[in-house]
């Protein structure tokens, strides 16, 4: 898969005063993903766990 150069100047044009504090002012044109929001098929049943926590193995769903 082609891996693009990250958009390092994500919000260079956004004025600090115009964006409320709790908003992430990222321009739509500079988004990294297409926002498809799909789920990856065939992922293992376990998930990465925080350090010290058990890896949970769930029965596979068919």
């Amino acid at each position: 898969m082609e891996m693009p150069e990250p958009a390092t100047d994500l919000v260079a044009d956004a004025p600090a005063s115009g964006v409320p504090w709790a908003r992430q002012p990222i321009a739509a044109a500079k988004r990294s993903t297409s926002r498809a929001r799909r789920m990856v098929e065939n992922l293992p049943d376990w998930e990465p766990m925080p350090p010290g926590e058990l890896v949970v193995r769930r029965p596979r769903r068919y």
């Binding site: 990250p6 992430q24 929001r37 799909r38 990856v40 098929e41």
Partner: protein, 590 residues
């Protein structure tokens, strides 16, 4: 004769000399004018030259700034490439990984591109081991995944936890996402929270992480609150903000128009106005916060976009070690973009780099979210959650507010009428009349009438024409005229003059008496009218006080409703939201 001619000649000579002198003065005047013009032109040239020089100097300085910045840019880029070249590779790989997860297709190439050497090449960058962990997950390699997670967590527990939380949630592993969320919250400093936290809080408030996350977050937030509340200064600061918030509901405008007579005649009107405005604030408070409770949850699309934006930011942001160089590079690039104008460059510093230090403490975020959700940029749902946590302050502030306006109520209400102003009769200067509404209205009316009578009767009597005083002088004068007139011109002539003078003087006095009577009647009429008006004003003020009391009692009784509403706010934010049954991606897949 010859002397005269000689003098004439000399005079003519002097006249000629004066004429010549005048001509010379005119010439000098012209010359001075010309010099002035030249001086002005020279001055203009100098100003122009100075401006041109300033422009030249500025341009030269800007050109030098650009050259220096360009030189620095080259050096900085080399430094960045030399020190953090691998970071760029990690970020590029991370974007690719994120895109793969987004479209639901993680290829073998993607997994193979992420080897353990990535962790070794970037020994302090947290993103590299996270990528290794994700690749190990996709490749079903739990041992590598555990090792990579441990390494990532060691490098940055906060960033690792956040990225894992968001990615696991996107993949429908909500229970694990909540476990990572716990670690993310543990890694936060409640005294210095950043924008990401606000966004996460927003997502949690919308149920984007499910009810377990909301419960977990509530516990953590409560724990932070207890920690921060130990600092009295912080607590006072928040309480004061809520106290000021209460004051914003006080609107005394227009009350004076509703009670014009009472406002004009009662010295206690300022207290009455303040108390009524305070009491009526209860309804405004109810309207405001009921509206907040009833506001429907905002669309979830915005939250999903914000979460994706956050993921984008996490995989593309600079490492803290890299950031000083990146910040310097951005500043230098801004100087080049601004053509050497340092002020313009400072204004256009990239937002992402400038805002990194923009942190707030948890109490401030909650108060900001509760009081000014639009200003801080949170949704009504988050505002409700914040209100739930701020309800103690709101309750305390409301109690203090209610106590204060009630304490400000006057113990007695009096009315003071300025009779002189109302009568507007020249010379009539009675003292103002004051009565307390503790007494019955008819007693006040009798007191006011008595006050009028006590001061108007002497005044009107003083306006009457006093014949006894005014007649003495004419009699004396006429007697003297009669005596001296008879002695000088004879008895008959003296008598005629005296009688004539007497008649004339008598007519004059009569006219003055008529005029005085006329003025007295006019004053009497005006005073009577003024008295009548003052009585009307007294009754009107009394009636308005009755209205004020009814209105105040009604408004003040809503204080208990506000208390009940604040109690309801304590549980606000808990209800389910459209997110709770939503699994990201399922709809699109179907």
């Amino acid at each position: 004769m010859s002397d005269v001619n000689q003098l004439r000649g000399q005079l003519r000579s002097i006249e000629n000399q004066i004429f010549n002198l005048r001509q010379n003065i005119l010439k000098v005047d012209d010359t001075v004018g010309a010099i002035e013009q030249q001086q002005q032109a020279t001055r203009n040239d100098l100003v122009e030259l100075r401006l041109a020089f300033a422009r030249f100097a500025q341009q030269a300085e800007r050109t030098a700034n650009v050259h220096r910045a360009e030189t620095a840019i080259g050096a900085l880029k080399n430094d960045i490439e030399h020190q953090f070249g691998h970071h760029k590779v990690v970020r590029r790989t991370a974007v690719g990984m994120l895109q793969s997860f987004d479209v639901g297709l993680v290829s073998e190439d993607t997994v193979q591109a992420v080897g353990e050497q990535l962790m070794i090449q970037t020994p302090r960058y947290w993103l590299a081991p996270v990528l290794v962990a994700l690749a190990a997950w996709v490749g079903d390699d739990p041992d590598l995944c555990v090792r990579a997670v441990e390494e990532a967590y060691r490098r940055s527990p906060e960033r690792t936890s956040l990225l894992m939380t968001l990615i696991l949630r996107r993949q429908g592993r909500r229970a694990s996402a909540v476990r990572w969320l716990r670690h993310y919250l543990d890694a936060q400093d409640p005294a210095a929270l950043n924008r990401e936290f606000a966004l996460i809080l927003e997502a949690i408030a919308h149920g984007a992480f499910g009810p377990d996350a909301l419960t977990l977050t509530r516990e953590r937030l409560e724990s932070w609150r207890r920690t921060l509340l130990a600092d009295e200064a912080s607590t006072h600061a928040q309480l004061n903000r809520w106290r000021r918030e209460m004051e914003t509901f006080v609107r005394p405008e227009g009350l004076r128009e509703d009670f014009p007579r009472l406002g004009a005649s009662s010295p206690q009107w300022p207290q009455l106005e303040r108390a009524l405005a305070g009491a009526e604030a209860h309804q405004s408070i109810i309207d405001r916060y009921v509206a907040v409770l009833n506001t429907p949850p905002s669309p979830t699309d915005r939250i999903e976009d914000a979460i994706d934006d956050l993921l984008d930011m996490l995989v593309e942001e600079y490492d803290p070690e890299e950031l000083p160089l990146r910040r310097e590079l951005a500043a230098k690039e801004a100087i080049v973009a601004a053509d050497g104008d340092l002020e313009e460059a400072a204004r256009s510093t990239p937002f992402q780099l400038a805002a990194l230090k923009d942190v707030r403490d948890y109490l401030t975020i909650q108060t900001d979210s509760a009081l000014d959700p639009d200003g801080i940029g949170v949704s009504p749902q988050t505002q409700r959650l914040a209100l739930a946590f701020c309800h103690d302050w709101l309750s305390d502030a409301h109690s203090a507010f209610t106590r204060d306006y009630r304490l400000g109520l006057p113990s007695t209400v009096t009315v003071t009428l300025d009779l002189r102003e109302r009568a507007d009769v020249t010379g009539f200067k009675p003292p103002p009349w004051t009565g307390s509404f503790e007494r019955p209205l008819d007693a006040l009316e009798r007191s006011l009438t008595s006050h009028w009578t006590r001061h108007t009767e002497p005044f009107l009597a003083g306006l009457a024409f006093d014949w006894r005083k005014r007649i003495i002088a004419p009699i004396v004068v006429l007697l003297l005229v009669a005596v001296f007139g008879s002695a000088v011109a004879g008895l008959a002539v003296g008598l005629v003059i005296t009688v004539g003078g007497g008649v004339a003087w008598g007519l004059l006095l009569r006219a003055q008496a008529d005029s005085a009577a006329e003025k007295q009647n006019a004053a009497r009429a005006r005073l009577a009218a003024a008295r009548k008006r003052s009585l009307v004003e007294l009754r009107a003020a009394g009636a308005e006080l009755t209205d004020w009391t009814t209105r105040f009692t009604d408004a003040d009784s809503r204080e208990s409703n506000v208390r009940a509403l604040i109690a309801d706010l304590a549980t606000a934010g808990a209800p389910g939201s459209p997110h709770e049954r939503r699994v990201p991606g399922r709809a699109e897949e179907a």
